[in-house]
């Protein structure tokens, strides 16, 4: 009887714990979004210059400038302007570009696929190649391991900007295999989409390959030295099965954490890569909007990036739970 009661309450306890964790996650996420939006608004507003000066250029008179400031509502106190923006944002209205009048949601919507393609492609490239190299390095104590060390150092040290130009020079100008700039929409031409992403993905992902390869190799070596591996070998399990079914799964836990951090880093890396390859993504949008002091657009993109961070963290938590059952009960 006692056993039956205990067994019945377990799912309820788990459900309660899940609900509490979800509520905590939601509260933290909302706080993060609020802080990001407030800080972004503050920083962009306090930066020298404003949209009125950008519209008028360097030659507008002070009278014209003051009149335009008033017309654009830039005269209102900062707190009032932020309150107006926040109120609208809570109703799902992110406003419109001060310059073009285009809605921020539609601007972000038109550029989101580009940034997502770039980040997803780079992540896939970094994880697949990085893990394969890491596994190879862990199983070989010779030149492959040392090569991975060198590659990791080089991969992390190479400036993205420089690497991008090098790849374009080699594979778009000297050998015209890929386009030097631009993006092709997947729905328009899938092969063109793929080709337009090859060089940007290599540029953005190569640093990640190096990091993941090194992390995987180190984690794999730690796991390979554990007793359970010796036991499996003694039981006659094939080396392939030991490495890929058991060791790699356990080694994946620290690697997953690195991948999560890397994914967040990739979003910020898109700003440079989109600049080099002239890709119409969110990075380029936020750079241009910031330089024009187009606050609604900057706010919208900052919120989008913050949402990425929030959901990436959630994804990593979920993956962590899948890979490490102990993490689910704590």
């Amino acid at each position: 009887m006692t056993t039956a009661v205990t067994t019945a309450t377990l799912p309820r306890q788990r459900g309660g714990r899940f609900a509490r964790r979800l509520a905590r996650w939601l509260a933290t996420s909302l706080l993060l979004l609020f802080v990001v939006s407030a800080l972004t608004f503050l920083l962009v507003s306090l930066a020298p210059g404003d949209a009125a000066r950008t519209i008028l250029g360097q030659t507008g008179t002070q009278e014209q400038y003051l009149a335009l400031r008033e017309q654009l509502g830039l005269d209102d106190p900062l707190i009032v302007r932020y309150g107006q923006w926040l109120g609208a944002a809570l109703r799902g209205d992110l406003g419109s570009s001060i310059f073009s009048g285009q809605s921020v949601v539609s601007l972000i919507g038109s550029r989101l696929p580009v940034t997502l393609s770039l980040v997803a492609g780079s992540l896939l490239f970094a994880v697949v190649v990085g893990v394969l190299l890491g596994v190879a390095g862990a199983r070989s104590h010779g030149p492959i391991g040392r090569a991975i060390d060198v590659l990791a150092l080089v991969g992390v040290s190479i400036p993205t900007f420089w690497l991008g130009f090098l790849l374009v020079s080699l594979f778009a100008v000297t050998l015209p295999l890929f386009p030097a700039t631009g993006y092709v929409d997947f729905s328009y031409w899938p092969f063109g989409w793929f080709m337009s992403l090859v060089l940007p993905v290599l540029t953005l992902g190569i640093g990640g390959v190096a990091v993941i390869a090194k992390q995987t190799r180190d984690a794999m070596r730690t796991q390979l030295s554990r007793e359970y591996v010796t036991a499996m070998r003694a039981q006659g399990l094939s080396e392939r099965s030991i490495v890929y079914r058991h060791v790699l799964r356990n080694a994946a836990i620290p690697v997953t954490t690195v991948v999560g951090l890397m994914m967040i880093g990739l979003f910020s890396g898109t700003v440079l890569v989109e600049n080099v390859f002239a890709l119409p993504g969110l990075g380029g949008l936020v750079v241009e909007a910031t330089s024009r002091h187009d606050i609604p657009v900057v706010q919208g993109v900052a919120l989008t990036f913050a949402l990425f961070v929030v959901f990436t963290n959630l994804l990593i938590d979920v993956l962590y739970g899948i890979l490490n059952p102990k993490a689910r009960t704590t």
């Binding site: 930066a47 020298p48 210059g49 404003d50 000066r53 950008t54 519209i55 008028l56 250029g57 360097q58 030659t59 507008g60 008179t61 002070q62 014209q64 009149a67 335009l68 017309q71 570009s97 310059f99 073009s100 009048g101 285009q102 601007l107 038109s110 550029r111 130009f165 374009v168 020079s169 778009a172 100008v173 015209p176 386009p179 030097a180 700039t181 631009g182 993006y183 092709v184 929409d185 328009y188 031409w189 899938p190 092969f191 063109g192 337009s196 600049n275 080099v276 390859f277 002239a278 119409p280 380029g284 949008l285 750079v287 241009e288 024009r292 002091h293 187009d294």
Partner: protein, 525 residues
């Protein structure tokens, strides 16, 4: 036997799947119809332009002049300026000042013109357009600030009355005055909120909104209603925003882009890549000696000190170091009407003469000169180079660089600095009076006046066209003599074109008109 059957079936299935995948891949390898991003497969009839920045808005009343190509393609100006600056009829077939004093201006409109949206060009429509531009508060609204009335005696005549004379109205009613010249259709004016993302003009092309990504790619197709169909040279025009000029050059080398604006930092590379490279001297770069009354820095209130600064600068050495063959030395503020070649020798490099003048003015031991600077257009490097040379005559420059263009402009105009780096593009002398040296000009932070300069500028405002050159030259000579500025070099502006572009329009730009008339670009024959 059963196992063999299963194995064979699997192989057949795999082969079929592979065939389907291959067919799908091959299909996917072929673009549906042309390349939306303009790769090397673009036909010669397609013009692909790269710009370093997007327009922000497509509303002619609010667009920045630097982004005028985005609207020039879709809006026809009242007066059309060719690449060399000569004016020809556009939506207006004739224009003239009425009476004396350059305060009344009459435009005669072209008959039978319809906008891309089908609405008709009328005098009443032009009046509403000008009223909108004046109220919108954009870059050109200042020019219309003195516009007192707009009369439309008939359907094709527009008469404008200004409260002050302006000898440059034909320029403002050409592409040079983006918002003013590019007439918006009556339909477009009914919904001005949409003008930022669409076009409503009577130009040779119309924006294809479905193929356009704001601030990244702008696609234009021919306007079927264009009044001058013989001058539509391209079946499609694409402007691609490529923020990085090195990326633009790579795109040109690999055949993705046909035409762009260039700068001297990439000019040699462009030349080596076999591109057409055409540069003209346009932006004077040097020092703006703002405190001409000596409010903050008493030394600058003495003309001899300002002249000493001009004598102490080795312009040729700085030009060679900063711009190489793409720049040239100058002492003047304009390379257009008003430029006098001999004036460039007014201040030969003579540090001894500079020391003498400083001693005469009571500054034999020199003085300290705070200068607000900026990194764009090589401003900071220019100031450093000048500082090195001024130190030889005892003047210590304290440079304060502002990374943001708006902050630099605000500080330069604030009256907090006695001097500033200046990079100022060539403009007609009357416009320089309004923006560079006149009592209300932004670049005249301390609002200094000089009786002779004011008198000449007031004469220029009301002068008939035939007197403009002589008066402009006198003003330039006075500016050089007063040494309100210490110009050092002409920083060039120009463009790069591939062989797909006819050289004629590319190579005819001048210092006063450095930007190609984009509608005049033609395919190479």
């Amino acid at each position: 036997m059963s196992s063999q059957h299963t194995s064979r079936a699997r192989r057949l299935l795999a082969a079929a799947a592979a065939a389907v995948a291959l067919a799908a891949t091959l299909t996917a390898c072929t673009p549906p119809s042309g390349d939306p991003d303009g790769d090397a497969t673009g036909s010669p009839q397609e013009l692909r332009i790269a710009m370093q920045a997007g327009p922000g808005t497509l509303d002619p009343a609010l667009i920045n002049q630097a982004a005028q190509w985005y609207v020039d393609l879709a809006y026809s100006p009242l007066i059309q300026a060719a690449s060399d600056g000569t004016l020809r009829p556009g939506l207006a077939t004739a224009w003239e000042y009425v009476g004396e004093g350059n305060t009344q201006f009459r435009l005669t409109l072209r008959e039978g013109v319809t906008f891309a949206d089908g609405s008709a060009l009328t005098a009443e429509g032009v009046k509403k357009h000008l009223e909108y531009v004046k109220a919108a508060g954009g870059q050109m609204s200042g020019v219309l600030a003195t516009l007192e009335s707009i009369d439309t005696p008939d359907d094709l005549t527009v008469e404008l009355t200004f409260s002050a004379g302006n000898p440059e109205l034909p320029l403002y009613f050409s592409q040079g005055g983006v918002g003013i010249a590019d007439v918006i259709s009556p339909t477009g004016l009914e919904d001005t909120g949409s003008l930022g993302t669409m076009t409503a003009g009577a130009g040779p092309y119309v924006l294809d909104q479905s193929a356009t990504i704001a601030n990244d790619t702008y696609v234009y197709t021919p306007n079927e209603n264009y009044w001058d169909k013989d001058n539509i040279h391209w079946s499609k025009v694409t402007i691609k925003v490529i923020p990085n000029l090195s990326s633009t050059l790579n795109a040109m080398k690999s055949g993705q882009i046909d035409f762009t604006t260039g700068d001297y930092t990439t000019a040699t590379e462009a030349e080596k890549a076999g591109l057409q490279v055409h540069f003209v001297p346009n932006v004077f770069s040097g020092l703006n000696l703002l405190d001409r009354d000596g409010t903050l820095a008493p030394a600058l209130g003495d003309q001899r000190v300002r002249q000493a600064i001009n004598y102490a600068i080795d312009r040729d050495a700085i030009v060679e170091a900063l711009y190489g063959k793409w720049g040239s030395a100058t002492t003047q503020t304009t390379h257009g009407v008003g430029y006098v070649e001999e004036l460039d020798d007014f201040y030969p490099y003579d540090p001894e003469k500079a020391k003498e003048l400083l001693a005469e003015a009571g500054y034999a031991d020199g003085f300290t000169l705070p200068v607000v600077s900026a990194p764009f257009f090589n401003g900071d490097t220019m100031v450093q180079a000048i500082a090195g040379q001024l130190s030889e005559v005892g003047i210590t420059v304290q440079a304060d660089s502002k990374a943001d263009v708006n902050e630099y402009v605000t500080k330069m105009a604030s009256g907090e600095y006695p001097a500033a780096w200046i990079g100022f593009g060539t403009l007609p002398m009357f416009v320089e009076y309004q923006q560079l040296y006149g009592p209300t000009a932004l670049f005249n932070a301390f609002k200094t006046t000089d009786d002779e300069l004011t008198a000449l500028s007031e004469q220029l405002a009301v002068a008939p066209e035939e007197d403009v050159k002589e008066l402009s030259e006198k003003i330039e000579a006075r500016l050089v003599e007063l040494a309100w500025f210490a110009p050092v070099a002409w920083a060039p502006l120009g463009q790069y074109a591939t062989d797909a572009i006819d050289a004629e329009a590319v190579t005819t730009t001048t210092g006063e008109h450095p930007i190609v008339a984009i509608v005049d670009l033609k395919p190479a024959s």
